[in-house]
Symmetry: C2
Subunit: 341 residues, 2 copies
């Protein structure tokens, strides 16, 4: 475990010169630099990041807080964030904060704020104003993916608008009997994505003068098996069956499609289905969807925080940035079959 001093001795220079040679900061002659590099290599020397951080005050480390890992949306964000960070020479510290506020506080105190990270990226996590303040007071940039956050640059699609767009697509095709299979309003994660998508759904119906009642909305978890079960229930009852379903996520839409197939209900002839995400499985199911790109969202927030770190004075958008969400038409939506009765 050799230190900088060993390298200095071997190369016949001072510690200061070794530091400069290896870090590339300040003047060092080409010859010296070469000797130092060789000495370092032959000793297997690697700089101690703790020591270096201690004096520079920078860790080259970014903390990422995410509520779920094993789901396409979140996994994609993670991939985008990781790629962008490593490309810029930063390490990523990952915290999977699921629910409990207790756990949350613990991570915040013991890990994030411990001067272990230079910046924080919060994915779908409503940081409290207090937490925000503490981070900013420590000079640590923050950015978030998800809804607007006081004093934090954030980024997401407009969930209300996306839901409206999806619903409008169904309306435009001529559907009037539309149901929304979405997330449980009571169990939602931060930023109220579930109620926003429900809201967009209702707005679109209202604007089109189409009535809806509480039966127009059914809750499910955002995974294929749960949505499949819900779909079986809805579609299994002919009196309840709508001509179109707006699913709050593609996993939900796919579950519904599988349920329909099992019940011999043809999509899109008997039932149109639209989702949100443009999940990798959407294409093979011919699923019409609203596209968003979580990987690019991840890259974007990384760009924000890193630029803030490296370019003093630069500031990211002061508030929430809305990303475009575009309709991708496939074969799961069509005009409703003319009513036979």
């Amino acid at each position: 475990m050799s230190g900088i001093e060993d390298v200095a001795n071997l190369a016949g220079v001072s510690k200061a010169t070794v530091s400069r040679a290896l870090s590339g900061r300040g003047y060092v002659s080409a010859d010296t630099r070469m000797r130092v590099s060789q000495a370092a290599a032959s000793l297997g020397y690697v700089v101690s990041s703790s020591a270096s951080s201690l004096v520079t005050g920078r860790t080259n480390n970014v903390g990422v807080i995410i509520p779920v890992i094993n789901q396409w949306f979140f996994g994609s964000i993670l991939e985008g964030v990781e790629r962008a960070l490593v490309d810029r020479g930063y390490d990523m510290m990952l915290y999977n904060l699921t629910k409990s506020h207790e756990e949350r506080a613990r991570v915040f105190e013991y890990f994030l704020v411990r001067k272990r990270v230079d910046a924080v990226i919060a994915v779908t996590l409503e940081i409290t104003p207090d937490e925000t303040q503490r981070l900013l007071a420590l000079g640590k940039p923050i950015a978030g993916i998800g809804g607007a956050l006081e004093g934090v640059p954030t980024l997401s699609i407009d969930d209300v608008a996306a839901a409206r767009l999806a619903t409008e697509h169904l309306l435009l095709l001529g559907h009037r009997d539309i149901m929304h299979v979405g997330g449980d309003i009571d169990e939602q994660m931060d930023f109220h994505v579930h109620s926003k998508r429900l809201k967009g759904f209702m707005e679109a119906l209202t604007a089109a003068g189409v009535a809806y009642d509480q039966d127009s909305y059914v809750a499910t978890r955002f995974d294929i098996p749960s949505a499949y079960r819900v779909g079986k229930q809805i579609l299994g009852d002919p009196r309840r069956r709508p001509t179109a379903i707006f699913a709050a996520a593609d996993e939900v839409a796919i579950g519904v499609i599988l349920a329909a197939r099992e019940l011999g209900i043809s999509v899109p002839d008997d039932l149109s289905v639209i989702g949100i995400d443009n999940h990798p499985l959407a294409e093979m199911f011919g699923l019409t969807s609203i596209e968003q790109r979580p990987d690019l969202q991840g890259e974007q927030v990384v760009a924000w925080v890193i630029r803030q770190l490296e370019e003093p004075g630069w500031s990211p958008p002061a508030s929430h940035t809305v990303l475009p969400a575009t309709l991708i038409m496939r074969s799961s939506t069509a005009r409703p079959r003319p009513r036979s009765g």
Copy 2:
């Protein structure tokens, strides 16, 4: 940004006492401890982990290298690893090393070895003996999920045995015309999982005296859409269609099942399908599978490295640990339909 000295002044004690009071090491009177805690809290003081690491030599940080994030198997490992680490008070540094050896070396040099982590967990990554040596020389425990690795405790199911088990299940049901849809031998990741599963398949057939040829094996990527396309090809040609398919992973099996459904081929009446993993989607597809629990695998390797760090002298299993993989029977496999001609 207050330091330990400010806390010391405010509490009217020395820096040493503050350190002891806050870390819980050494003697501190209850009264003093209280005063120090309050002083620290009122100043919003948090210990600098760089400074602390510098003197203790420990970072409380574990590096995790993983080739893929957004896939069930890997995502589950990640969840298990993260949970286990945070529970023990460690942070997780995530590196998503996809393929290039160049990138690999870079991460190894610039990040992992930089004294930034106390230990390394390699998921499905063949660390070279040289890399292993360097880490061990630095006193950093390593553990891996995946095949055996010289000098590294590793953990995985026995891929050959699991494939044999799956194939034997089909044979036992009476199938003789069995096909293997597996990973591409030429494009496989580390540890040759693809060829191992193919090997187990062939071993089982040979042991049962069932002949196979090169048409008995078809390659696909391990995702549902790719397997679906391959399934359509295989099953679309009646002359090629086997009575049973052993899929190297549940995603593949599901793709095949979806292809069969689309072609009007009944599972299991016309075609039995078995996979490996017991993926969350397996149940709703009635998929017979071989279960493995990547989350628990993640927890296990964490237990190994952390125990090594905290209990000097303790050593994990010196070599590769084989995990049980059990058959879970569902409705996708059955006796072959009696031959009609």
